[in-house]
Amino acid sequence: MRLLEYQGKELFLQYGIPTPRSALAASLSEVEKLSSKFEFPLILKSQVAVGGRGKAGAIVKCDTPSEVASKFTELINKKIKGELPQSILVEQAVDIKQELYISLFLNRGRRIYSLICSAEGGVEIESVKNKLIIDVPSSGVPLPLATEAALKLGLQGRTAESFKAFVINLSRFVFEKDAELAEINPAVVLRDASLMALDAKVIIDDNALFRHPELKKYQYMSETEKQAKEGGFSFVELDGDIAIIGNGAGLVMSTLDMVSDQGGRAGCFLDFGGSATAETIFYSLKVVSKIKRIRAILINLFGGIVKTNMVAEGILRAYREGVIEVPTFARITGAEASQAKDMLKDSNANMYDTVEQAIQGLLEELSKKEEIYGKSV
């Protein structure tokens, strides 16, 4: 789960990581009320979960109340890399002495957390030559490690002390809240030698949410995503017209690739996990039926323990109850496959021996329809 900047900053404050004075505004009247409480200049920051917001024009400085009004209206209606903000963060500008880069993240390949620091903040870290990369044990950043980092960054006196406290607080945050990433770019040194987080990019481990009920309020899901989650499915909505359903994330991804290789466009990814019963199949078709642009359904089910006649029963029920109308193309291996094929014979579902054949059948059917009705998308 990727947090928005203001959400990350709310959590930072709880861990003693200073952030600029700020408030959230979702409407023009809200921002007008707010701006009288701040001193100018102010910074307006579009709350979208994308990187490179500065360059994309999502962050603007305002010197007067009238500027706040016009810039706010512009920002709240502006899509940043395809994402429209729900709110704008209004922030007090601060007097910066030095910009730093600080991040603590899960280094997957090395199976350890890494702390990256640089005395060049505010730019993309990939382009920075002088950066420190330090291994961090899962017990968190110990003081000697923070001291070493401060020294190597050339920080001295009170600045070094602020830096150490800042990094140790960040580490407490990361390990207590199960963050996979906490990146602060820039972290700034102010005139009084204190440190402040000007930005917050935080990713929380979804698998750890069970022990963080306090973070659930940050989780945003569409209606279809909520339904998928209730069914225990992994679900990703995509922009094409073919729903792809299967058991196992890898298998569904692989099916997605094969469909796209043949020129088809996937409309969703749905992995219903280990247990394929008539009920799970029926429910997964129900979820898929909520996506209006779906014109065909592809099911790729590698069974072993799965009883394919149960799967066929689930598909038939979905047609019978009018949950789906579009045709289904299925490849189902497993016990009783010939019986399943027989059951589906007179329905709008077609069963194949290989996934390649199922994809071919599906794409031929879609192109036949296009010839008759014309392209719909």
């Binding site: 997957r108 390949g109 199976r111 698998n207 994330a249 890898g250 072993g304």
Partner: protein
């Protein structure tokens, strides 16, 4: 770089061992719905399940298998050094540490949705205890026709000389099925897990495989997310790895910044992209199949060379 860990000895043993091909296995979480189904299926396959552990149910039996309250008792009674875990993710770390504390050397971690920090803590601990974790979020490990420790169906797997490693469960079955159909039986098939970090990563698997006799070739089923395939490709090149390797990468058409089912299957920028993984494999002279059914074809070509 050679590994001290003799996986086949733990899984199968030597002909002179009294439990050769019958290594005792403990099931943690045997009485749960998932654990009980798979205890039976593993047993049907011939796996020697000797004990179950469920706190509070000690003294009971499941299908004739004694249940113990804790791992200490179960290990003492059975002498097992293998355990397979079916507990919920929230209890996983505690159960896994209990297993390692009581002498388990090979721990097969089935649960999905384990917090990644718990996995890191366990991996650090396993190093101290000189034990191996497979998973979490793995279907398990199988030596076809000898021992099955996990939730994979039995039918796709046939004995032979290919080693199959996979980040995905169902794709492992799919690939084993394709390989078996083409008469490429398997020496060992292992799910390394779909999470961001794996108890035994691809490089460690390759190290272990060096010590296994008669391995003809290794098939690696990767997917988007992280850099495990890139690091493996570097390792193959740097160590002039002695066995032929065939790759497959799922997720070529996946969008960025979307988690595709597995916790580990997510692309950030170019980090974790299929293109990056395929390019690394090609650089190390590892052919990459476009579909699962293409793997046996590439394998035949490679072995003819």
């Amino acid at each position: 770089m050679a590994s001290q860990f003799d996986l086949m000895n733990i899984l199968v043993g030597q002909e002179t061992d009294k439990n050769y091909r019958k290594k005792p296995v403990i099931v943690q979480g045997m009485t749960g719905s998932f654990g009980s189904i798979h205890t039976q299926l593993m047993r049907d396959y011939g796996t020697n399940i000797t004990a179950g552990v469920t706190p509070g149910k000690g003294g009971q039996e499941f299908d004739g298998i004694p249940i113990y309250n804790g791992m200490g008792e179960a290990v003492k009674q059975t002498g097992a050094s293998i355990s397979v875990i079916f507990v919920p993710a929230s209890n996983f770390l505690r159960a896994a540490i209990e297993a390692l504390d009581n002498g388990i050397k090979l721990l097969v971690a089935i649960p999905e949705h384990v917090p990644v920090i718990d996995s890191l803590k366990l991996i650090e601990y396993a190093k101290l205890k000189n034990a191996r974790i497979i998973g979490p979020n793995t279907p398990g490990i199988i030596v076809p026709e000898v021992i099955k420790i996990g939730i994979m169906p039995a039918q796709p797997f046939k004995t032979g000389n290919v080693v199959l490693l996979s980040r995905s469960g169902t794709l492992m079955y799919e690939l084993a099925y394709s390989l078996s159909k083409a008469n490429f039986g398997q020496k060992l098939c292992m799910g390394i897990g779909g999470d961001p970090v794996n108890g035994t990563n691809l490089i460690e698997c390759f190290d272990i495989i060096r010590g296994i006799n008669d391995v003809e070739c290794i098939v690696v089923v990767g997917e988007i997310g992280g850099d495990a395939e890139e690091l493996l490709a570097e390792y193959i090149l740097e160590t002039s790895y002695p066995k032929p390797v065939i790759g497959y990468i799922a997720g070529r058409s996946a969008p960025k910044e979307k988690r595709m089912g597995h916790a580990g299957a997510i692309i950030y920028g170019n980090y974790g992209s299929a293109e990056s993984k395929m390019a690394s494999f090609f650089k190390s002279d590892v052919p990459v199949a476009k579909t699962p059914s293409e793997v046996p074809i590439l394998l035949s070509q490679r072995l003819k060379k």
